[in-house]
Amino acid sequence: MADTTPSRDAEPRPIGAQLIIPIAAIAFTVYYFTTILDTPWTAQVSAFFVGTILLILSVAFVAREIYAVRRGRATLGLGDLVSHADVTSGRAAIFALTIFYIYVIQWGGFTITTFFYLFICIAILNRGRRLSLAAIVSFVMVIVGYLLFIVAFDTRFPRGPFEFLMQKVFFHG
């Protein structure tokens, strides 16, 4: 195993973020085990086999890192995982917008919702500049997407007012 511990003189490294995946793995494995306690052996055998290995690996990793914290070689800080840059770069806003987009698309349909999503995202990342270009790019991409995915490939992307209108106009219902 690679030694990730720094020398004694080095600044304590923040390792809190590195513990998220192993802790999530431990929590998920424990949850998984609770769902298979009263099930036939066929449902248990693979999960117990792999889950046990995962628990050993994760617990040992967490223990190693905690030991480093106790020896003063590391801190539980999150490093650059969460920082002010998440707000200034627009990452936090776009994440929130993405969640909203997923929620709204089932009613708004692909074309209209995606147009507004693209337009607002581009506007955020461009810090409000060149809005007309953002509108043109969003419009062109959405129309290309509509023609390619819905008209050509007949993909069942979420339908909304625009798709139903086009269906009535061009395909008579």
Binding site: M1, Q18, T35, I36, V45, S89, F153, F157
Partner: protein, 507 residues
Amino acid sequence: MAEIATFGHLFLHSLTFWWVIIPSVFLGMIVGALPGFSAANTIIVLLPLTLAMPVEVGLIFMIAIYCSSHMGAGIPAILVNIPGTAGAAATPLDGYPMAKKGMGQQALAISFIASCLGGLLTTVIALFAMPVLAQVGYYMHSVELIVVMLFGISLIATIASADPWKGLIAGFFGLMIGFIGSDPVYETPRATFGFLELYDGVPIIPALVGLFAVSEAFLIMEQSSIVSEEDQANITHGSWAATFEGMMMALTRWWHIVWTSIIGLIVGVIPGAGASIACFVAYQQSRSFSKTPELYTTGHPEGLIAPEAANNGVTSGTMVPLLTLGIPGGETAAIMMIVLQYHGVNFGPALFQLHPEIGYGVFTAMTATYLLMLATALPIARYMSHVTMVPIAYLVPLILAFSLLGAFVPREYMFDIGLAVVFGIIGYIARKTGYHVAAILIGVILGPLMEQYFLRALKESNGDIMVLFSSRIGNALWVALIISLFMPTILAKWRARGGAKEVALES
């Protein structure tokens, strides 16, 4: 001699269908490049058209889409770190670092050459060695397949070379996620968090989209473009010379293309294994036997050649058990089987006597497709590489919107878009903290397959775990697996000793 003349005649006959092959190649490259779309679901969508065509035209149409989609999946993997399908999941490991250095055009040329030559070579091998290759599929039972799966899992530790411990945690975490869903025997739901949509297991496409596309989009948001300003000059002044340079990089490593594509062919013959395993097996073997393993994941041409040659080697491999035994080697082969059966084609040895234009024609059509693919794809590498210069402000929203919708396509559940976001969060944290997303993905892919074979082996042996060591082929594979696990360390020590001797001699 008569056989070669027959193959030659069939090949020339296949070439006369260039008017079907060329548009199908472009369609295949597009659907391969779009996460969520694949050759399989495109052929399904176009099934009414395929069934209406004469059998020969329909077959060539499907073959061309199939082969080109494998190559197309590598394009976004190289340019924006988002593989179009799971079969290209190992391509960004070295393809994307090349693109970031402003060498996207060279990387695309390498990918196209490796894909086409790898596919071409394995097609010719499959054509002549079909009777022998068919036996590979016949002798691969549950135990042998478990060891093949473990081969895939063993790669996890070596892919994340910076800290193999993290690689193992990521891989086994992926495996546990892959076990979500009903158990294969009694359909008992496991770890589904109460969601009915997870009863069939975790769908691969939302996992792929989330781990690669969503996490990458959120990661690159702080940059102005994928390529740094200094490296942008390489693209701005890009010319045909860069494509030629990439071609030469691939052609001078012709031996690498040969043996990694043969890995793809052999993995493809094994039903159920597929391109997603082949690309990682080839990548790991390539790095193990490389003289410069330290260059892998930094934008090394050999690290790009291996997965691309292998995933195209798979295409001819999957056809072997289909044609000789009637067992499709993969999803697309299964759909082709349905179409051919609709036209009254029966599989097995008799196919080659009764309908040689179909039996051998599959491979001659593949040969023609790969040749035409090479001619059509290489000239456009120059223009495709400009994707890396698109400002992030436009690229990120497009990646997010279209890849999330790609997650929706295979099952048409809104739930799958949400699932892609959850995988995106996991992928973002993993990337920021040094856990490799490819390790998680390969775990998710292999989890259900491994469980299925593990249970089958245990059932056959009445629960005796020693069944895993009961077959000669299986035991040989175990030995190969152990050798493959320790080979990198042994070779590294051997090289270090060689280097030390040289230094001593010089001094």
